[in-house]
């Protein structure tokens, strides 16, 4: 029983990675594909947050708590924050690219958008 809560976030991360990759492989619409890429990225959020989680820990703000109170690891929060910024950048860039490409090719199907192929 005690094993389940500790394994659950890892299983969720693996699941998100798997479904995201499956979505990218099978997608027929680039906007949908970019959504799947975000799902793959969500797996990194879940994984990082679960690495830093401490059962019973408080948020790492010690204003009202004495130093030494068990707290979750703030390091991973910094990592996730950076990761969120990266994800926003990549998603925005991809959406801009696909918008430009749609203007030129009139389609957003990855199967029809192969570089250098007529």
């Amino acid at each position: 029983m005690s094993l389940l809560p500790s394994l659950l976030p890892w299983a969720v991360a693996a699941w998100l990675l798997g479904v995201g990759l499956y979505g990218i492989v099978t997608s027929r619409n680039f906007v949908h594909l970019i959504g799947c890429l975000s799902v793959v990225q969500s797996s990194t959020y879940v994984l990082l947050l679960s690495v830093g989680f401490r059962t019973g820990g408080i948020a790492p703000i010690f204003y009202t708590h004495p130093p030494g109170t068990p707290a979750v690891d703030p390091m991973v929060h910094a990592l996730v924050l950076t990761d969120v910024v990266v994800g926003a950048t990549v998603t925005a860039l991809l959406l801009a690219l696909i918008l430009q490409l749609h203007k030129r090719r009139g389609t957003v199907d990855p199967e029809a958008l192969r570089p250098m192929q007529p």
Binding site: A13, L17, L21, I24, V25, T26, S27, F30, L33, L37, V40, Q41, S43, T44, L47, L48, V51, M75, V76, L79, T82, D83, V86, T89, V90, L93, L94, L97, I98, Q100, L101, R104, R105, P110, E111, L113, R114, P115, M116, Q117
Partner: protein
């Protein structure tokens, strides 16, 4: 800062200086954001070289990648945009896997500094989480360094990016994947025998496959930038073989080869840019005999082709010799075969293209006429010497007196490797067989190029039987390079299964 990181950062800086001279007047309207993106790209790559912190590795990796994605699609035409999309999706998946691996490593070691993580791995070398962390981190870096079967994005992106950007892609960015992999393998995972075993078996296999597939695909191309892109795949395979030997000799050879390859490949992409600008095309068959106006570029291209093939001069040859020596010292003399095949095949492809474009040889194509091409063109109002000068500077840089560079690579590799790993033979001087190997590779490249350029003189039955033997494998390789991003990600999943199987069996 260590000598390996500092040394490669210097090479990157030199490449950028030459590239920005080459890009002078490249765009009709230079919006400032081209230069801003190039500088951000450079900052990302240099930061990646210098950092000793796994999370900063990820951050610099992303800075470099996002700038590279934007630069690929900079011209906002259909082909570059498609190439940029494939590049972005595949590399982003790689970087998220890298970050997953960093998270697992943090769970094991509770630190992000590579030295501290190395100590943590040494305390729990058989931990399966360590193995999983290595797989995920190696994955991101293997995708970046375009190893078979994760290389599909590379020809799509390098062939369509503006020429100055392609110079940096092939010259530095791809090699950085191998550099990062070497850094984490030597610094963080050196104590884990399971990981080292996987490096010796699975990564060796990937390196050999990259060298062979890259060389074969390069020979099958007619689009010059795509040809050079596949030759980069072959040479990163050679780099991975140098890494896999896990000896100081192999590592110093890898560092030398990385620097030499960056300079030579950069110069060759500049020659491709000159052809786009002066001759208004990049297709080898359409340009047959058209290059005479720019004959000095042809000399540079032939020199570059010979250096790729392993001409015993300069940094590339120094690295090649050390890797071959280290392979022999490690009892893996059979590795000479993929090393020679990779060098000779890519050299032959470049020499064939040079012979056809600048001398008008080779009226009968042999298979490369079926490959992809496009009608790219770049504006033609820049003086030839302005574009040629940086290319010649890079070629000269790759041929510097190698004794000093060799000493630097030796001490850099010693600092790069973990203490105690230097159990192998120290630094053998390139022996006689290795010099023979280099000349053998050059002669093979010349023969291969001569054969491809003189098919009209060979008897018909010989040509037809060669076509029957070589045609189907070539068509199969072409079929695999489908251009659809879903297929590429399917290969990533296949690779994930391969890694899991390697750890399960090993």
């Amino acid at each position: 800062m260590d000598e390996a990181g500092g040394g490669f950062a210097t090479v990157i800086g030199g490449l950028f200086a030459a590239t920005l001279v080459f890009a002078w007047g490249y765009f009709d309207e230079v919006h400032a954001h081209f230069h801003v993106l190039m500088l951000v790209f450079m900052a990302g790559m240099i930061g990646f070289c210098l950092t000793h912190d796994v999370f900063n590795t990820f951050v610099w990796f992303e800075v470099m990648s996002v700038a590279a994605f934007a630069l690929t699609g900079y011209e906002l035409k259909a082909d570059p945009l498609q190439g940029a999309l494939n590049f972005t999706v595949v590399n982003s998946v790689g970087s998220y896997l890298l970050l997953d691996g960093i998270g697992l490593l943090y769970a094991v070691g509770g630190a992000l500094d590579m030295g501290a993580l190395g100590a943590a791995v040494a305390r729990a070398p058989a931990d399966p989480v360590v193995a999983a962390a290595f797989v995920l981190m190696a994955y991101g870096l293997l995708i970046k360094s375009a190893q078979v079967p994760f290389h599909f994005w590379l020809p799509d992106a390098h062939a369509v990016a503006p020429s100055p950007v392609s110079v940096m892609f092939s010259g530095a960015m791809v090699a950085l994947g191998i550099f990062g992999l070497a850094r984490i393998s030597f610094t963080v995972f050196a104590a884990s025998t399971a990981v080292m075993q996987v490096i010796r078996t699975l990564l060796l296999g990937l390196g050999v496959a990259s060298a062979l597939v890259g060389a074969a695909m390069a020979l099958l191309q007619r689009h010059l930038k795509r040809l050079l892109a596949f030759s980069t795949v072959a040479h990163t395979g050679v780099l991975l073989i140098g890494l896999e030997l896990l000896s100081p000799g192999g590592a110093s050879g890898m560092l030398l080869y990385m620097a030499g390859h960056g300079l030579v490949k950069g110069a060759l992409f500049m020659v491709a840019g000159i052809l786009l600008s002066v001759c208004g095309g990049i297709d080898e068959i359409a340009l047959r005999g058209q290059g005479a106006r720019a004959w000095p570029a042809g000399v540079a291209m032939a020199a570059g082709g010979l250096l790729l093939a392993g001409l015993p001069a300069g940094l590339m040859d120094g690295g090649f010799g050390r890797i071959a020596d280290a392979a022999a010292a490690g009892g893996q003399r059979w590795l000479w075969l993929p090393l020679v095949a990779g060098a000779a095949g890519t050299g032959a492809a470049v020499l064939r293209a040079a012979g056809r474009i600048f001398l008008g040889w080779g009226p009968v194509p042999c298979g490369e006429d079926r490959s992809l091409t496009d009608q790219e063109q770049e504006k033609n109002d820049r003086p030839l010497w302005l574009m040629l000068l940086p290319a010649l500077a890079l070629l000269a840089g790759s041929c510097v007196e190698t004794a000093g560079a060799g000493r630097l690579a030796t001490s850099a590799a010693a600092a790069f490797m973990p203490p105690g790993a230097a159990a192998g033979p120290a630094f053998p001087q390139p022996g006689a067989p290795v010099i023979v190997l280099a000349w053998l590779s050059v002669v093979l490249a010349l023969l291969l190029a001569a054969w491809q350029l003189s098919r009209q003189r060979l008897p018909g039955p010989l040509n037809r039987s060669a076509q029957r033997v070589l045609g189907p494998p070539g068509a199969g390789l072409d079929f695999l390079h489908s251009g659809a991003v879903g297929d590429y990600i399917a290969w990533v999943v296949v690779g994930l299964a391969l890694f899991t199987a390697a750890f399960g069996l090993g």
